[in-house]
Symmetry: C2
Subunit: 207 residues, 2 copies
Amino acid sequence: MSEASTRLGQVLVVCAPSGTGKSTLINKLRAEFPTFGFSVSYTTRAPRGNEKDGVEYHFISRETFVAMRSRGEFCEWAEVHENFYGTATKPVTKMLDQGMDVLFDIDVQGAKQLRKTFYKGTFIFLMPPSRKELMQRLTGRGTDSEESIAKRLANADGEMAQAEFFDYWIVNDDLDKAYEELRAVYMAGRCKPELRTDVEDILKEWN
Amino acid sequence: MSEASTRLGQVLVVCAPSGTGKSTLINKLRAEFPTFGFSVSYTTRAPRGNEKDGVEYHFISRETFVAMRSRGEFCEWAEVHENFYGTATKPVTKMLDQGMDVLFDIDVQGAKQLRKTFYKGTFIFLMPPSRKELMQRLTGRGTDSEESIAKRLANADGEMAQAEFFDYWIVNDDLDKAYEELRAVYMAGRCKPELRTDVEDILKEWN
């Protein structure tokens, strides 16, 4: 009976150069829509503080990670500061089958990996209104060293050069407007025929 | 400076079996967004009442219509009750270049013609929640003869069988929900890279 029980979930991939306001926008979306599932990543780094296995991360050994990776179990993975991080495909697919959406807050390299498994996902690129504005935002936070800012800007340069990869572009020159667009892209994605398995039931009556 | 002056307009094509509530939804969208241009169609039928050439229609002769059609000037045309109706491509393209969106409220055959010229347009199929519900809506209006209702239902059967053609499916089981989805699909379409010529200016700074 319920629509949510039969339609498929959407893979929503959101990328943005650091300082674009991505976290704020994603948190707003998660808060408005209870339809997102959470995927717990795998990592080879040691737990910190109160982190629990299976909650913040699945903490696994380097050998296990490499074995899983060689079996093709990750839809994306990366090495950061000599530790591996990865998302297993199976739990994501399970959530999608149950009608839950899955949001990936990830860098451009990760997005490109995800496209191979979830090629019908919705790939969104958020961008700042200008390079100057981004510099001001990064500097204005007052929390980062000059070196760190320079590094973020260099990363931004690299990511902006790959904007063409994405299905949708959202310019964050106004937070409310950018959120309305993100929300629209998400809602529109839910209307794509390949996810509307619930509609197949309606169509059966006509065929 | 203004975004609207440089981005390209979107072709929005909306199809629905008669009785689905298409007109209500389209009127709401046009009322909310002032970004839609109006395209005046061509017809070979005679003007009625106060109709003025170039306002309701461009009234042209059958010979002129056939000549325009053979020159490929129409992006869609149809014959209804021995009269021709058609939309000229050039004025539509001009509006799109100026950043105006163009909405086509058209049948499935017309939509299929439009895809040939505007293959990157946004093609939406609105549908009733069930065949039974559609029958009740058509009967409940009390304005149509039994014969007319039977004909509308037969048309609906034919159109529903072509649902696969469309990019988006919206089920009108609740008018507010259906409108929110239509609005989202429209807004999301405006975020597609091929229309965001304004963003090209941002990207130039980075390349």
